[in-house]
């Protein structure tokens, strides 16, 4: 019995243990604290996640080689760690932004957020189909609730319900894919499955069908074409910090399993899925960007832009190389920071003025120069301009595409970045150029949120100028899959 659970196994799930403890603490203090002190729940969540990030960095570092722990259910590797850090960072930022608003005064909010993060963490390190599915649902179900968290607002409830229906549908298809895999091979471990595919235990046509079904489930999570329809409605209806979380951490979680499954289970089919993902990538970014052009609501605009970014990330993946995956991971990390900053800034300004219409952001630079500058940084980074992180991230995925021989896809990506630049500039035009409405007062915002956003903007610039250490991590993570 004593050898059943050893130290490495504990270390491997240290962040998850910490999350469970944190959930308990939030529950406890949610009961004790009353009134104004409830805001402290946000601090507690953010600080707890911060501590967990540091602890994981210090103690949970994996061995050089890929380890399987907990009855071969989980990986303990760099790949999982990097993604877990990304998710926890995303959740911490979301908590800080959310705690200023009514919904951020409830312990349920943070518990759901943390539970979802727990699920994502397990997604990133899952080594077994069963684990993968459980983690997938653990991450998704709290998000359905969070999307509908503003239960007095029709749009939020609608968003939650819609998300649930779309999610259940795609998850059912994915599960059907899993059952095909299990039915033909009798195995659930990802690495064993790869062997089965190679040895031909598994009829080729069934392999392809299972691949497609699994892809559908993941495409939903990353909001890739043609499973992107849910994103704009839900981002618009949900509370803005939650939209930010959905568009970053949740999307990153989708990518973490997509990458793992494609490269571990289906490496022998690389030729096929490379093309499929390439086509999905091209369509995703084109559709996202073109529809974003016509949006009048900033949350919807960011929703379509986040669809387009999924397309850019897919360029790196469809290059099907360690370099490509490293670039994609780098992109995901940068994108998380950038998009959370953008959503955060939009949340602050929009909640204050009560409107998310692009027209109501007119003259923001006169009403709040600081927040306008933060928006400038995040939107230009999304557009892929140096010295912000988005530039180097985009160059890396394009470079991976060129090296992977997907020159046509890179050309599509380059054209898309131009469309992207166009609509980001239009938003900035409203912020910087147009005058505010007569008598519009100066805006002030809660200090912790603004400080966080300023710090994030600085982070975007740091990533965009000193990219070597971060890229090193991303590449390390990518090497675990090969």
């Amino acid at each position: 019995m004593s050898n059943l659970i050893d130290q490495t196994m504990i270390i491997a799930i240290l962040p998850e243990i910490g999350l469970v403890v944190l959930i308990g603490l939030v529950l406890l203090f949610g009961g004790i604290w009353k009134g104004k002190r409830l805001k402290g729940l946000g601090w507690l969540t953010a600080a707890g996640l911060g501590v967990l990030i540091v602890l994981s960095l210090v103690f949970a570092g994996p061995q050089a080689e890929n380890q399987l722990v907990w009855g071969n259910m989980l990986h303990h590797d760099w790949y999982g760690l990097v993604f877990r850090l990304i998710f926890m960072l995303g959740a911490a930022i979301t908590a800080i932004i959310a705690m200023e608003y009514d919904y951020g005064q409830k312990s349920e909010f943070y518990i759901l957020l943390l539970t979802s993060t727990l699920g994502m963490n397990l997604m990133a390190s899952a080594a077994d189909l069963i684990m993968l599915y459980l983690a997938f649902e653990t991450a998704s179900i709290p998000l359905y609730v969070l999307a509908g968290f503003l239960k007095r607002e029709k749009s939020s409830v609608e968003a939650g319900f819609k998300y649930l229906l779309f999610g259940a549908m795609s998850s059912a298809l994915m599960l059907f894919g899993f059952s095909l895999i299990y039915g033909f091979t009798g195995m659930t471990n990802l690495a064993d499955l790869a062997q089965a595919v190679v040895q031909g235990v598994f009829p080729p046509s069934a392999v392809l069908v299972s691949l497609l079904l699994v892809l559908i489930g993941f495409s939903f999570k990353i909001s890739a074409f043609p499973f992107h329809f849910w994103a704009p409605d839900i981002y618009q209806g949900a509370a803005t910090p939650i939209s930010g979380f959905l568009s970053t951490a949740s999307k990153a979680a989708g990518f973490s399993v997509l990458l793992r499954v494609m490269f571990v289970v289906y490496p022998s089919l690389t030729g096929q899925w490379q093309l499929i993902l390439g086509i999905i990538s091209g369509l995703t970014m084109t559709v996202g960007n073109i529809i974003a052009l016509t949006q009048k609501d900033l949350k919807r605009l960011l929703a379509y832009s986040s669809i387009a970014h999924a397309g850019y990330i897919l360029i790196g993946i469809s290059a099907a190389s360690a370099f490509g995956v490293g670039s994609a991971v780098f992109y995901i990390g940068t994108y998380l920071l950038t998009n959370l900053t953008a959503f955060g800034a939009v949340a602050l300004a929009g909640e204050k003025t009560g409107s998310f219409a692009v027209d109501d952001f007119d003259g923001l630079s006169r009403r709040s120069p600081g927040l306008a500058l933060i928006m400038l940084v995040s939107l230009l980074s999304l557009a892929g301009m140096p010295p912000f992180g988005g530039f180097i991230a985009k160059v890396l995925v394009f470079a991976a595409g060129v090296r992977g021989g997907m020159l046509w896809l890179v050309a599509v990506g380059a054209l898309n970045s131009i469309i992207g630049l166009f609509y980001y500039l239009i938003v900035l035009k409203h912020v910087y150029l147009y005058l505010p409405q007569e008598g519009a007062p100066k805006l002030t915002f809660p200090k912790p949120a603004v400080a966080t956003l300023a710090l994030l903007s600085l982070g975007i610039i740091v990533i965009g100028t000193l990219f070597s250490p971060w890229y090193h991590w991303a590449l390390n993570a990518a090497q675990n899959l090969f």
Binding site: S365, I418, L425, Y471
Partner: protein, 492 residues
């Protein structure tokens, strides 16, 4: 370790920009003086680099190199040779004069100077970079502040349209070049973006011929090459004065210079194959640009199209691929930069007073602002290529170079000199002489001392280089840079 002078030049503006953003926006004079201090530092340092570059030793000097992303062979690598030393000086001069001229900007000067300085860092960075990735990095930094500068502080009528047009054109160009550069990186197999490494990559002739047009034209868009020149006059006209100066004076050189560095120097075989066609495009620039300039009624559009015409001469000089043409093009980049900055400064001063730029509604400014009139005439003479002014030092070798390759092009292009003379003389007579309209004659005064300092510096440079092309080091410097290019082209 020696003093990292180039990095200081490159980073001073952006650091100042960041400091400006931290200052309180209401203290406008504090902001202006901070900006001026940074501009003076950069001006002095760029003069220092220009004067202390060792011509007899040649090659790249003031080298600095740090690894940036070692996994991909990206490094921060800067240095100066005979080709870019004048351009660094040009940027320093335009930055300094630009700050002086923009003293009167009253709407959010903090943001204005902040963005202007970020732009300046981008420009310096491109001129000195010896790494292709780094060049792109700074190139993009130079593009985006332009959008804000034009759309916020520009001319109300066209600014939104012009700013968007300009940004999209330049971004498309840079994307095309970027894909080309990535192809070069992977095909070379050297795993490095360093220009010295890529110079020796021995790309196959077929590869060079396929990719040269992408890389060259992508950058040449910013150089204003026909038929992709359309953004430039609109952008010049819509931009506020200092930005027009930067834009026409420096930014267009950025495109031409990057096309030279990445296109011609790294893909020389491609250049040899495509240059006979590029020279035709440049010819259209030169002649067509001049004709359009002649037909304009808006003072600023005249200057805008004259830039298109003169940048055509730069491209034409490049396209000859011989010593005379390249030397002329190198000098022309500097001379035209200073001259155009001067022109736009003058246009700005006149517009601020008369609130119109229609040539037939202007007149008699020489009486009110004699200094400005003299400065403009100096610029005009440079523009016409008169001996004794820097324009002659630049344009004469270009025509000699073109004559050596295709004499008929030189003949056709020379028409532009006549047309240039016609539009310059037209402006001088109807704007500076003649009778000043009654409507604003009584409330127009002379320009401020700081404006005179700016104009004086610009005209002095034009005259000095014109009279003393060798003692001012301009021609020897560029010649030494050209030797390096010719060596890469296979020792013509």
């Amino acid at each position: 370790m020696q003093f990292p002078i180039i990095s200081v030049i490159v980073l001073t503006p952006v650091v100042t920009g960041l400091i400006l953003f931290l200052l309180p926006g209401e203290r406008k004079n504090l902001i202006r003086y901070t900006a001026l201090t940074a501009a003076v530092i950069d001006l002095l340092l760029s003069f220092w680099v220009y004067l202390s570059y060792d011509i007899t030793a040649g090659g790249y000097q003031f080298l600095e190199k740090f690894t940036w992303l070692p996994q991909l062979g990206i490094s921060y690598s800067v240095g100066v040779d005979g080709m870019n030393a004048p351009l660094v000086l040009l940027t320093g001069v335009v930055m300094f004069t630009g700050v002086l001229i923009s003293w009167g900007i009253d709407d959010r000067p903090r943001e204005f100077f902040g963005f202007l300085f970020i732009l300046a860092t981008g420009v310096f960075g491109v001129f000195v970079s010896l790494d292709v990735f780094m060049l792109f990095f700074f190139y993009e930094i130079a593009v985006f502040p332009m959008y804000l500068l034009i759309s916020i502080w520009g001319w109300k009528k066209t600014r939104e349209y012009a700013a968007m047009k300009l940004t999209l054109y330049l971004f498309i160009g840079s994307m095309v070049s970027l894909v080309g550069a990535l192809a070069m990186y992977f095909v070379s197999g050297m795993g490095s973006f360093d220009m010295f490494v890529l110079q020796d990559a021995n790309f196959s002739v077929a590869f060079q011929r396929v990719w040269f047009p992408f890389v060259f034209m992508g950058f040449a868009v910013l150089g204003g090459i026909w038929p992709f020149h359309n953004w430039s006059p609109d952008g010049h006209v819509a931009a506020p004065t200092a930005v027009s100066m930067f834009h026409a004076g420096v930014l267009m050189k950025l495109g031409a210079f990057a096309a030279l560095r990445v296109g011609i120097m790294l893909l020389p075989e491609g250049a040899k194959f495509w240059m006979p066609y590029v020279i035709l495009l440049a010819l259209v620039n030169v002649v067509y640009g001049a004709f359009i300039a002649m037909r304009q009624n808006d003072f600023k559009y005249v200057i805008g199209f004259s830039s298109v015409s003169h940048m055509g001469l730069v491209m034409m000089g490049f396209a000859t691929l011989n010593a005379d043409g390249l030397t002329g093009a190198g000098v022309q980049m500097f001379s035209h930069g200073i001259m155009t900055a001067l022109f736009f400064a003058v246009v700005g001063m006149i517009y601020d007073r008369a609130h119109t730029r229609q040539i037939d509604e202007l007149g008699g400014f020489a009486k009110k602002m004699p200094f400005v009139a003299v400065a403009f005439i100096v610029g005009g003479l440079v523009s016409m290529g008169m001996p004794g002014f820097s324009g002659f030092v630049a344009e004469f070798p270009i025509f000699m170079g073109v004559w050596q390759t295709q004499p008929w092009i030189a003949v056709v292009a020379s028409i532009s000199i006549v047309i240039t003379a016609s539009y310059i003389i037209r402006i001088v007579t109807s704007v500076f002489f003649g009778k000043m309209p009654e409507s604003y004659a009584d409330h127009i005064g002379d320009v401020a001392l700081r404006d005179k300092i700016a104009l004086g510096l610009l005209s002095a440079l034009l005259i000095l280089i014109g009279i003393l092309p060798y003692p001012t080091r301009m021609v020897p410097l560029v010649t030494s840079g050209v030797e390096n290019i010719l060596r890469l082209l296979g020792g013509v």
